[in-house]
């Protein structure tokens, strides 16, 4: 359910045009997308914007040198996990030690052999892919394949901050499967798992921009970026109807339902924080449960309240 990137991006940062042309020719045909920057400042900017899997970094550059640039990359949470290989004309062992100690994963000395370059780049990308996969696995829910609670918390914080910065809408939906314990007791836990998996599939079949997470137990958190409360409630209602309409083989008469609490940034009072958003969505979910379950309750926008 969670998508992997297919073609890795590699950013070459070197102030020599000759080296860029050489890298382009030598890495042609490799399964990667090569980008280039001819100064460390441009390189830093591109690293932040592109978030490549790998950076090939020269040491000796005018202005900020490669070591200083690596320092900046490691300071920034958005770039600190990018793999860096130094490609340098220096053959000083202490430069290699310094680079590797600072967090570079490899060191290639110029002039480089084309086959060695390709092999080292492939190896770095392979390791990076495995690292990302492990990172991703640690944030996935084992049963449903959805993002887990850790991911949800981080992503909500990130989306709230983005929405504030760009003054974009953001909707949060909390959903809880109704009387789930009773389902488990009546039909057994394997059936309960089947319900969780099927509901997850319904949620994942929505818009590609939606972020669907298993919040815990039979509760789900859905983050809708660039979506206002009206649209968010429509989507939640569609999901509610889809769950209610699901057919359960072996139990043809069974109807599983879910309750939804929805809010957006404009419904919040005071500070626009992820905690405040979560609290309000939870309050709306509670209202939905109190109103007889199997319904969607949406918070009001502050300006619409009398």
């Amino acid at each position: 359910m969670v998508q992997n990137k297919i073609i890795p991006k590699v950013l070459a940062i070197d102030d020599s045009e000759l080296i860029h042309r050489l890298l382009e020719a030598r890495l042609q045909g490799e399964d990667l997308e090569l980008h280039s920057a001819t100064s460390s400042e441009e390189g830093l900017q591109k690293a932040r914007a592109l978030k490549p899997e790998l950076i090939l970094l020269d040491i000796s550059m005018e202005g900020m040198n490669g070591f200083e640039l690596l320092d900046k990359l490691k300071e920034d949470t958005g770039t600190q996990n990018i793999a860096v290989i130094f490609i340098s004309g220096t053959d000083e062992p202490m430069d290699k030690v310094r680079g590797l100690d600072m967090g570079a994963i490899d060191f290639i000395t110029k002039p480089f052999d084309a086959f060695e370059l390709k092999a080292r780049v492939r190896s770095a990308l392979r390791n990076q892919y495995l690292m990302r996969m492990l990172e991703q696995r640690a944030q996935l829910d084992g049963l449903t394949g959805l993002w887990n609670r850790t991911y949800f918390d981080n992503r909500l914080t990130q989306e709230v901050s983005e929405a504030k910065r760009h003054q974009r809408a953001l909707t949060l939906v909390l959903c809880d499967i109704d009387r789930f314990k009773r389902l488990n007791d009546q039909f057994g836990h394997p059936f309960g798992d089947r319900v969780l998996k099927h509901v997850s599939q319904i949620f994942s079949g929505g818009r590609t921009s939606d972020i669907v997470c298993r919040y815990g137990g039979e509760e789900f958190g859905l983050i809708f970026p660039s979506t206002n409360i009206e649209r968010g409630c429509e989507v939640a209602e569609r999901l509610r109807v889809a769950i209610e309409a699901a057919k359960w083989s072996g139990n043809p008469d069974l109807v599983v339902t879910a309750s939804f609490g929805v809010c957006d940034m404009e419904c919040l009072e005071g500070d626009l924080t992820p905690e405040a958003m979560l609290k309000l969505a939870d309050k709306m979910l509670y209202k939905a449960k109190q109103s007889g379950r199997n319904c969607v309750k949406c918070a009001k926008k502050k300006k619409d309240e009398i």
Binding site: S16, L18, I19, R21, L22, A25, G89, K110, P111
Partner: protein, 140 residues
């Protein structure tokens, strides 16, 4: 009459460079056989080797002018780049000679031009010989 060199950069931009008195046609300078790239039969390299060769007059010009004006830092930069790229383009001899010159310049203090003079002459002579090979089949 001043000579001009038109370069096409990697991103497709064209640059017109004016060559001064420091660049002379290889016939006057060439004291050895033309040097050819080790990668002549590598199709992926043909275009970039051709561009590299076309830019040699400009590089000689730059080396000579930085040397004459005593611009040690810029001279080191261009020589360092040639050291790093030479072998990659199939000219190990450029890397070897650029390395020797870079070492001389970096190690020497005040009288670096005197100390590095011979190494500079060697590198420039090699560059002329590489440039002289540009019209030989497969390289241009």
């Amino acid at each position: 009459m001043k000579q001009e060199l038109v370069l096409q950069t990697r991103n497709g931009r064209r640059e017109r460079l004016e060559l001064g008195m420091n660049f002379k046609e290889p016939e006057d300078q060439n004291k050895g056989k033309p040097i050819l790239s080790d990668f002549l039969d590598d199709e992926s390299m043909v275009k970039i080797i051709q561009d590299f060769l076309n830019e040699i007059p400009h590089r000689i010009e730059t080396i000579e002018s930085h040397f004459d004006s005593g611009n040690k830092e810029q001279l080191c930069r261009i020589v360092h780049q040639l050291k790093g790229a030479g072998s990659g383009y199939g000219f190990k001899i450029i890397t070897t000679n650029a390395q020797a010159l870079e070492k001389k310049i970096r190690l020497a203090e005040d009288a670096w031009q005197k100390t590095a003079s011979k190494a500079r002459e060697n590198l420039v002579a090699i560059l002329y010989r590489v440039y002289a090979g540009r019209n030989i089949s497969g390289q241009a």
